[in-house]
């Protein structure tokens, strides 16, 4: 079943003082099936972040549509969009986006508190997640007291606790050292195996090589895509590198 469907997405930024408009997305179409683990790759300025913001309903496209489980994001009323986002999407950011004013546990609880869940239910939900992510003993600490890897695992816990349809990850390994990054990617694989759909935006070849499918974006369009099938991580890594080289040296479209 298709979880996410993106059709002919276009985004043009017009600057306020009448400068020339900048086209971030030209024509992007793709879909993500339930249980999939997809990565979107592209260089800086290729429109990755714009795409992710639109998928996250933080931004609106100039034209085209995004369907989440068949429901158009543009049809959701402004008032309900936050609740919709909270209940259907989970986010993992490059800079963690944890609030320093909350303990890690409260950070994880935040989306549930916003949905009006009771403390008992929240702790019941947190317990298995915390065990799986190995953050049980740091929950009482504050973000500034723990390492980057630990912070990111808490951010993942925050994304998971709402049982979202889709987790959107924006450069999740971008601020982590290689060991923590490796751990996080393993974690993503595990939760994907449990049935969680993941969409990750990255320009790390290493991170992308863990995904089941990699989409390449260039100049605001989907340029190419790779399926991992039963390739090993290493073989996938090699293939992604080759594609990136081709893209960089200006090869044409090929399927």
């Amino acid at each position: 079943m298709t979880i996410l469907e993106v059709n002919n997405l276009k985004k043009v930024y017009t600057t306020r003082f009448g400068g020339s408009p900048v086209q971030a997305l030209a024509n992007v179409s793709f879909s993500v099936e339930e249980g999939e683990y997809a990565a979107i790759m592209g260089e800086s300025g290729s429109g990755k972040t714009t795409l992710l913001n639109i998928l996250a309903s933080l931004d609106k496209p100039t034209s085209g549509e995004v369907l989440l489980k068949g429901k158009g994001l543009s049809t959701i009323k402004e008032k309900e969009i936050s609740a919709f986002r909270r209940e259907n999407l989970g986010f993992v950011f490059q800079d963690f986006n944890l609030l320093d004013t909350f303990s890690l546990q409260d950070n994880i609880f935040l989306p549930l508190v916003l949905s009006g869940k009771s403390y008992e239910e929240m702790s019941r939900r947190l317990e298995p997640i915390a065990r799986k992510l190995g953050i049980g003993d740091i929950l009482a600490k504050y973000p500034y007291e723990v390492s980057g890897g630990q912070k990111q695992r808490c951010a993942v816990a925050r994304a998971l606790i709402t049982k979202p349809q889709l987790i959107l990850a924006d450069e999740p390994t971008g601020s982590l050292d290689s060991q923590s990054a490796e751990g996080l990617l393993r974690l993503f694989k595990e939760i994907n195996l449990e049935g969680q759909t993941l969409l990750m935006v990255t320009h790390s070849v290493k991170a992308a090589s863990h995904a089941k499918r990699v989409l390449f974006i260039k100049d605001g369009e989907v340029f190419h895509q790779l399926y991992k099938a039963n390739m090993s991580d290493e073989a996938m890594y090699q293939k992604i590198s080759d594609t990136l080289t081709t893209m960089a040296t200006g090869g044409g479209h090929h399927e």
Partner: protein
């Protein structure tokens, strides 16, 4: 490099930081204006020549010092805030290749700009406004307004020196900070790690005790004299309590709230409690400052306003009769001579005394210890609260005025107390033991002890012999010449103020010559100086009140702005995690409201508790109209709250503009 590079850069910097610099410059202009006007008034020769003008100028002079000290501290404080915000900018300059001396040069030019603008506009405004304020002051003082317009040279110099000094000081402080910091530190700016605050129970307990003690003093102090002694101590206690409770108490309360899971994990409380904790850690001292300043403004304005409005009351309390004569009558003279002189004066003016009150008396002062009174001045203890005044009045006069027919034995007395009841059966004073025959519940209106703030006793003795004997005994004990007994004569006149004044002056000459040491008083005669003192205080209260309000406003504004920058990132995250705009707004609003109105509410509570002690202090100043004071206090609080709410509305807008984020 162009010669104009630095001046240009400095100008651009100021323009870029207009959001924070504009209020600062406006405040500089405001303080310059106020200081100029204050010095102008206190140096004004015209004012000095008027009756009571010199008293007013003494009061205004005090105002000058207050404004000078206050401006220095305050501008220094706000400027350091500005610089904190701009550290990142300096770091960038540094990294882009400007050396610290270049940055220093830019900063010096910026300061020069600010100084020139503030002094120019401030002095211009001050000179233009000084005439207006002068007229307002004269109106308040009931003085006639002279024509003409002057610019005061000494005031100009004073302003230039003071503010040049302040600006130089702020510049040096900034340079010191820049000089000490490393570029990376500058880039990091104010964002150093923010640990969760610890609960300091000791401070909470101390604050509570201190505040409670302060309130207790205010509530329980009975006598005005004790109020005078204890007031500043109570103020100090309340200040300490305010600081402790704002810093530690708030955190303790928030932590308790957080421990209550059912309360804490609700949308409306969740972000608010955590946010408040962080805010209180950052702002507690600032908020306590605002609270204390607000309390000071409220107390100052409400008391001076009620004194001014209640001046007629005060005059009437202090001088209950139009003409009041209190004369020492030495042994060889009698009171008939005095009565004749007064009669002659009244006949000359064709007037008649009304509600005439006269009696003979002698006054003793001593420390009361049980049933003994120690009058020996060298033995009087330091404890001023046991000092009592004793008025000895002969039975004859008492019976006449109280319309009674009491008779007394040789050493028998009647006693009446103005404060606590006299409980003993005998009274031993000056080696004479007197037996209390009756404790009186009321006494005739006597107009004695109008200014006094200690408790007093009215003792009715058998006859004039006893009065004279005791007066002599006291003089002898203190080694004074015998001064004899005193005679009080007071009456009202049905005439206008000018006539009363003429009568007063004639009596003064007639009686003053024959009876040296006489005290002759009339409300009409002191009206001008009363107006001068209370009007001067009123003016100063309003003026300083305005200054303090300006300061409060600015602190609030800067708090808001700096919080806005700090909150921006946090609210972005909250929106990303799934908080709707409305929820973020609601959460911000409730927190900002609490932070904003906490000091005001606390100030209100302080005022409520201070009310009893302040009424006692006002009683010292002869203002006994508690109702009037209550109304003035309520009015002042209302005006202040309105003003405060207005500032809140304006700064909240700026705040929302900073926090709201544009990808939406």
């Amino acid at each position: 490099m162009s010669r104009f590079f630095y001046p240009k850069l400095a100008a651009t910097n100021l323009k870029k930081n207009a959001q924070t610099y504009l209020p600062y410059i406006l405040t500089c202009i405001g303080t310059v204006m106020m200081y100029y006007i204050m010095v102008f008034l206190s140096e004004n020769e015209g004012l000095g020549k008027m009756t009571g003008g010199s008293e007013v100028q003494t009061i205004l002079n005090l105002g000058c010092y207050v404004i000078a000290i206050f401006s220095a501290i305050f501008l220094f404080y706000t400027h350091s805030f500005l610089i904190k915000r701009r550290k990142k900018e300096f770091g960038l300059f540094n990294i882009l290749g400007m050396e610290k001396k270049h940055i220093a040069r830019v900063l010096a030019i910026e300061t020069l700009y600010v100084a020139v603008i503030s002094l120019g506009a401030g002095l211009l405004g001050g000179i233009l406004l000084s005439k207006l304020i002068f007229m307002v002051l004269l109106k308040i003082l009931n003085f006639e307004v002279p024509l003409g317009f002057t610019v005061s040279g000494p005031a100009l110099t004073a302003v230039l020196f003071l503010f040049a000094g302040i600006f130089l000081l702020t510049l040096l402080n900034t340079l010191r900070q820049i000089h000490l910091a490393k570029p990376v530190e500058l880039l990091m700016g104010g964002q150093t790690g923010e640990k969760e605050p610890k609960t300091k129970w000791l401070l909470v307990v101390m604050g509570t005790l201190s505040l409670g003690w302060g309130y207790y003093i205010s509530l329980t102090t009975e006598s005005p004299l004790a109020a005078l002694n204890q007031f500043f101590f109570a103020v100090l206690l309340v200040m300490v309590g305010t600081y402790c409770l704002f810093t530690a108490g708030s955190i303790a309360v928030l932590k308790l709230l957080r421990r209550n899971k059912g309360y804490y994990y609700q949308i409306r409380h969740f972000t608010a409690v955590a946010g408040m904790m962080y805010r209180m850690k950052q702002n507690a001292v600032g908020l306590a400052n605002i609270c204390i300043m607000a309390t000071a403004v409220l107390v100052m304005v409400s008391t001076t306003v009620s004194l001014y409005i209640g001046m007629e009351d005060v005059l009437r309390t202090r001088y209950p009769q139009h003409i009041m004569i209190s004369t020492p009558v030495p042994a060889q003279q009698s009171v008939e001579g005095l009565q004749t002189s007064v009669k002659e004066v009244l006949a000359k003016h064709g007037l008649e005394g009304k509600d005439r009150l006269d009696y003979r008396y002698a006054a003793l002062v001593g420390n009361q210890e049980g049933d003994r009174v120690i009058t020996d001045m060298s033995n009087i203890s330091d404890d001023s609260s046991s000092v009592r005044e004793f008025y000895l009045i002969p039975l004859e006069d008492y019976n006449r005025l109280a319309k009674r027919r009491v008779s007394l034995g040789d050493d028998e007395i009647l006693i009446y107390s103005s404060s606590s009841k006299y409980e003993e059966d005998t009274l031993t004073v000056l080696n004479r033991t007197l037996t209390v025959k009756e404790r009186l519940d009321s006494f005739f209106e006597n107009n004695l002890n109008r200014v006094s703030i200690s408790g007093s006793y009215y003792v009715v003795v058998k006859d004039m012999e006893v009065v004279k004997a005791m007066a002599e005994a006291q003089d002898e004990e203190n080694g004074d010449d015998p001064s004899g007994y005193r005679y009080y004569l007071g009456f009202d006149l049905e005439a206008d103020e000018a006539d009363i004044l003429a009568v007063y002056q004639d009596i003064r000459t007639a009686v003053g010559n024959d009876y040296p040491g006489s005290r002759i008083e009339s409300p009409v005669a002191v009206k001008e100086s009363f107006f001068a003192i209370y009007g001067g205080l009123f003016f100063l209260g309003i003026f300083l009140g305005a200054l303090f309000i300006m300061a409060t406003v600015l602190i609030i504004y800067y708090k808001q702005v700096s919080e806005g920058y700090d909150d921006k990132a946090r609210f972005e995250i909250m929106q990303k995690v799934g908080m709707s705009r409305e929820e973020v707004r609601g959460s911000i609003r409730s927190q900002v409201l609490i932070v904003f109105f906490l000091p005001l509410v606390a100030a209100g509570i302080h005022i409520a508790f201070a009310f009893p002690i302040i009424t006692k202090l006002l009683a010292v100043l002869n203002l006994t109209n508690v109702g009037l004071f209550a109304w003035c206090t309520a009015g002042t609080i209302l005006v202040f709250a309105l003003f405060y709410a207005l500032v809140y509305g304006l700064t909240a807008k700026v705040y929302y503009r900073i926090v709201s984020w544009e990808t939406f």
